[in-house]
Symmetry: C2
Subunit: 444 residues, 2 copies
Amino acid sequence: MDFVIIGGDAAGMSAASRARRQYPDLRITVLEQSHDVSYSACSMPYNIADPQTPMDTLVVRTAAEFIDKHRIDLRTGHKVTAILRDKRQVSGKTADNEPFCTGYDKLLIATGATPTLPDLPGKELLMPLKQLEHGRQIKQAIKDRRAKNAAIMGMGYIAMEMCEALTALGIHVCMVKPSSRFLPWLPKDMAQIVQEEVSKNGVDLHLGTTVTSIEKKQNRVRLHCDNTTLDADLALGATGVRPCSELAQKTGLALSVSDSISVDSYLRTSDPDIFAAGDCGDAFHVVTGKKTWIPLALRANRAGWAVADNLFSEKTSLQGVAGTAVFKVFDLAVARSGLTLSEAKKAGFDPVENRITSWSRVKWQPGAAKIYVNMVGDKKTGKLLGTQMVGTDGVAHRINAVAVALHAGMSVADFIQTDLAYAPPFSPTWDPLLTAAIQLEKKL
Amino acid sequence: MDFVIIGGDAAGMSAASRARRQYPDLRITVLEQSHDVSYSACSMPYNIADPQTPMDTLVVRTAAEFIDKHRIDLRTGHKVTAILRDKRQVSGKTADNEPFCTGYDKLLIATGATPTLPDLPGKELLMPLKQLEHGRQIKQAIKDRRAKNAAIMGMGYIAMEMCEALTALGIHVCMVKPSSRFLPWLPKDMAQIVQEEVSKNGVDLHLGTTVTSIEKKQNRVRLHCDNTTLDADLALGATGVRPCSELAQKTGLALSVSDSISVDSYLRTSDPDIFAAGDCGDAFHVVTGKKTWIPLALRANRAGWAVADNLFSEKTSLQGVAGTAVFKVFDLAVARSGLTLSEAKKAGFDPVENRITSWSRVKWQPGAAKIYVNMVGDKKTGKLLGTQMVGTDGVAHRINAVAVALHAGMSVADFIQTDLAYAPPFSPTWDPLLTAAIQLEKKL
């Protein structure tokens, strides 16, 4: 039996490793277009901030290790260009332009996501950050150009992490985006806190600014905008990603939200012998019960594992995602789980939100800081729908209590009852999450 | 209508304040034997560590504030000695030895818990730490005696917090307890980590040592033990607490676990006009569904509120406690929620536990540290039963995800599915809790 995997990143290699443990006799082939597998993509901004540590320390396991130790036929530099479902084959070309063709009994599409760079003159001058090679290129460019200024298009998670990383290197950063709303999924006053933190650290934010073209100026770049001109040693493109679902689409598999590949809870596509996992596939949202596309690392790993479990029988059904995410920008952590007010409205709930400010610890404890919690609940059912949090202390792990509650389908009233930990060095008697829930419940 | 509350601490004052908001015309009387109400008892060790800050800064609201602002007839120095249920009265004596007698329509017993000092010659030389007055006395003794050495009987939460507080003052601490097991509710290797942290900070631990008598030596104390003699400037008694349920018992109310006052989920005692809340009352355990007695601050506050809600109709039913607790000792945090293996066995489960060691963050991130997680599950049902954690980083709030899961009655398999937050500065891709659950599930 042949298990073929297209894509050797988190989902693909998780599936390959676990399949090897479960089926010692299975032939497992991984076709990866780049030369990197199994690296910590989310750590790239932190590595870029550290010139002493080579980007390649982010490699968790090398191709050789997969090949020798796990007997996985891992072929890097292999770009799949077609899935021939009638022949149960995939075909493509190697980095040396040699055609190849491989038969499968079970196939996993783990092609990930790709940056969506804006379509404007000079867009090839924008450096994305998705693959390890991108990280290497940015790091090299900073060094080669002795960069003192950088421009970042976009103000999402990756953009935030990169503005901190570059600032740590003494590089002045300006950021540009067309919309005037900073972190639009946060309530305005909470977004304002993050915006001030970023500005305070010397980053110039150009909100409501559209880049019209990018021009090369010797070793530098010039961003022509509708209302200004920005010069920089390098320009990063962090304007989001889209699922790499072209192969799936061409072979007639069903697509879903944002053109991600539609999978059931066993990670099967519309062809039961073809699975999809990782950033290219969709997921059920545990709050709405509907399909969503939220490309995040934990889901990719988990989905890869589940594919291995489900290759030959229905073993692991995934409940789905709560959309839990956290990022750090300078001294702040920004976290969310579940739905925002506007997402909840779109999903058909009758939502109401409430924001509180509390202390992260008993207020006279060292390290105690303001923490801002926005909680969203449903008027019709009383259900907890989501939470967003901002603060310098105690944000990242607190959100997990909300994530678990969302998986359990808890009401706000039930969440109020939870016995959360209290000791003065860590929390007020009523954890900020409980205070948020108590205040929200009054509006439900 | 008269609502009378015996005890003006967390539960009593929470009930009084909330009852005032809900029933503007209710006559509310609080009878408190001491002269302190509404203070942060759990902050006392931290205040003792800080000679510059008076103990009275821990007072959240003064008696005058309750009286003037909330129109609560708060009578400090009033010790209730009897509840006369047939007459619906409580009687007692004031600090000036004046008898008093007050009628009630609804009564709340919020008498708290009291330290259980061992019955041995010289026990009056032991200083407990439960009430604010105890805190003042310890602080004064440290100052007056220019304390350089302290002995602590007991090695529980309060003892741990106090050994850190005293060490911070430059006081050498020795601790004594009869059992040879340090933190017996933790798996041995995890208890060992905490024990080493305490020893490393210069605290002498005398495990397996029984104090036989205490003797006054001028301004100092001498602890005669079965295997040693310990001299100290002051001796603290932190050997646990018991519920103050004598009044309830004398008037014939049903008692429960550890002689706590038995209450239903509406906080009613066996007399429907008499409520009990706080450390004197029992609670349902959300994992076992059975009665338990775990005196902690959050429950006391929550139960006080619920009593106010339920005075005249069944409004707020409390689910109960998960036994979530956390304490800090030097650089370590120690947390738990739910049952330990042995508690689970006693409760009739068929439990199995598994301990993992993980990183608190992606391991090359600043602040990343080892984190130790012991998770307990039930073989029969697959249910998550409890978790204990130790580490220097990311322990306190992580336990809350477990607490919520226990309230929701989640299985270990379901917990594995939860979408916990990941970003390298805060967590590995698989949060340590997920890794713990995945490993435990293999044993179920």
